[in-house]
């Protein structure tokens, strides 16, 4: 974990509201694990103080890239930034996914929205080429499908409006697949909390393991402020753990979903 002033190499609209930002961040790039994130200060925000967290989509030798959706003032300001401008980054942060090895379970990835971005590095570093289930509202919200295919992964799509892939939620094709064959498989999911909860329930139903990356609002990003807590089961009850430090990736079985996130 370091603080680094990173220079923008490119910052372009990808599809719809999604942008791809490539940064020269040599002190961070080599250390990133799949599922980890960077915490970015957007200088023009001024009266909005906090950094914004983004999963590392991909890394190069000295670069990292992120895929982000323009949703509020921080991402609007970020989308206005240009080549050669600087951003301050903290990273890599958080506890990422367990990378599938040649003899671990067969990986099924489940993504909603920017979740695809958080899972790409995992697919890339996985020793097994698995299946990725990607869900979205509509076609424009499906990210980097081609990139997953280029890695040799099987991509299954679902959109709520049916504009691409199966019509409905992403958990539908996932259930179909698990019904066909659940054994020796493991889920890795990133997306909106209700989706993650549904994935956790499927994992329980089919008796498979699942790692989920939780999208909690962060503040410090380094474990100091105790903002980002998630209720996690313990031998004698439950406790709040930090999404930025113990997470964002948790074992789905350990989350006390009913406490509310």
């Amino acid at each position: 974990m370091v603080e680094q002033t990173a220079t923008i190499i490119s910052n372009r609209c990808e599809t719809g509201l999604y942008f791809r930002l490539v940064l020269h961040a040599p002190a961070i790039a080599p250390d990133v694990q799949p599922g980890q994130f960077v915490h970015i200060r957007i200088p023009s925000l001024k009266d909005s103080l906090l950094r914004r967290p983004f999963s590392v989509f991909d890394t190069g030798q000295e670069t990292i890239s992120i895929l982000y959706k323009v949703v509020g003032k921080g991402t609007v300001a970020l989308a206005r930034m240009r080549e050669n401008e600087d951003l301050s980054l903290l990273g890599p942060l958080g506890h990422g996914f367990t990378i599938p090895t040649a003899d671990s379970e067969f990986p099924l990835l489940v993504a909603g929205g920017y979740g695809m971005a958080a899972l790409y590095l995992l697919a890339k570093q996985s020793a097994q080429k698995g299946i990725v289930f990607a869900g979205a509202r509509e076609r424009d919200d499906i990210l980097c499908e081609a990139e997953f295919r280029a890695l040799g992964w099987d991509v299954r799509l679902a959109t709520e409006d049916g504009s691409c892939g199966e019509r409905g939620l992403v958990t539908q094709p996932l259930r179909t697949e698990l019904e066909r064959n659940a054994e020796g498989r493991k889920l890795f999911a990133c997306g909106p909390t209700p989706m993650l909860e549904a994935v956790a329930r499927l994992a329980e139903e089919f008796g498979v393991a699942a790692e989920v990356s939780l999208d909690q609002h962060l503040c410090c990003g380094v474990g100091a402020c105790l903002t980002c807590v998630v209720p996690v089961k313990t031998p004698d009850g439950w406790e709040y753990q930090r999404a930025c430090t113990e997470g964002p990736v948790f074992d789905a079985r350990n989350i006390l979903w009913e406490a509310g996130l």
């Binding site: 603080e3 009266d47 950094r51 903290l90 380094v222 100091a224 402020c225 980002c228």
Partner: protein, 308 residues
């Protein structure tokens, strides 16, 4: 050039520490900044027992500030000593442990337990947490309770005792004096200010705890005034806290009467802030040819014009 200041019997190599609750227990920021360059490390509030804290959301970003209602989540004094003290003890700079409780006895008890730690720098009594009780009021807004708590802690330790006052009073002066008279060696001013935000779309409060404490640059002018008022009422040193982002902010507090300052919310977005403030103070002293930072403390120039 001298940057070192005294807080009770504690000597700080420079007047810059961090504010409790914004810096974890030390290790969290250790990879990002060199803790040994701080004046002291101040850790998050500790109670006798472990505390789970408030339901999320626990912080919310507001204009030039932060709302928080963490609910003082913490490991309790035993786990603190077991898990964090070994790390803190090895630092070259003193540790200040912020404490709290729900009764006077609890305050005294946690003070006693911490006093056993060899080499601990100081204890900071948090009487001003606005989050634990439903309506946000706290020990720190009742003069008698304040006296009781500080006196009880005083009896329980010979360590330097700092009382962290609540800003949520009509005048800070009687509270500052009460803490001084009850044996506090120093004051910390200020804690976060009771506040609230609502989401107009859902009509729900932005915090799980409904209300919380406001911190960050937005409260700085309030904090500077409280330090100014208190400094003219007591002889004990004051640690100025509230929205400090740079050396210029820190200087406002020092010139208003603070002997030291603590960086709070700024750690969250610029972890280097405390060290940059130390650097900036050094530069200011150089540029103004001041040898000793102690000469600046409380040196605000008041010339009331008589034009009315």
């Amino acid at each position: 050039m001298n940057l070192s200041v005294k807080i009770g019997r504690l000597t700080l190599q420079n007047p810059v520490t961090v504010a409790s609750g914004t810096f974890g227990y030390g290790p969290e920021y250790a990879r990002l900044i060199d803790l040994n360059q701080l004046g002291a490390v101040t850790v998050k509030g500790i109670r006798v027992c472990p505390v789970r804290g408030n339901p999320p959301p626990r912080t919310f970003e507001v204009t030039s500030g932060l709302l928080n209602a963490i609910g003082l989540q913490g490991p309790g004094v035993d786990a603190f000593i077991a898990n964090y003290w070994p790390f803190l003890r090895e630092l070259k700079v003193p540790t200040i442990v912020n404490i709290w409780g729900t009764t006077v006895d609890e305050y005294a008890e946690v003070t006693r337990r911490l006093s056993e730690l060899e080499g601990l720098g100081a204890i900071e009594i948090n009487v001003s947490c606005p989050n634990v009780n439903g309506d946000g009021t706290a020990f720190g807004t009742d003069l008698l309770l304040l006296d009781e708590i500080v006196s009880a802690c005083r009896r329980a330790t010979r360590l330097t005792l700092i009382t962290k006052l609540s800003p949520n009073v009509s005048s800070i002066v009687p509270y500052a004096k009460a803490a001084e008279q009850a044996g506090s060696d120093a004051l910390s001013i200020m804690n976060s200010y009771p506040a609230m935000a609502i989401d107009p779309e859902t009509r729900r409060p932005r915090l799980g705890n409904v209300t919380g404490g406001l911190s960050g640059p937005c409260i700085k002018p309030i904090a500077v005034k409280l330090v100014f008022d208190a400094a003219r009422a007591v002889r004990i040193p004051i640690i100025g806290i509230g929205g400090i982002q740079d050396a210029s902010d820190a200087l406002e507090f020092i010139i208003a009467g603070a002997t030291a300052v603590a960086i709070g919310t700024a750690n969250f977005y610029e972890p280097q802030t405390a060290l940059r403030v130390v650097e900036g103070l050094r530069e200011y002293l150089k540029n103004h040819q001041i040898d000793d930072i102690n000469g600046l403390i409380g040196s605000v120039r008041i010339e009331r014009k008589n034009s009315c």
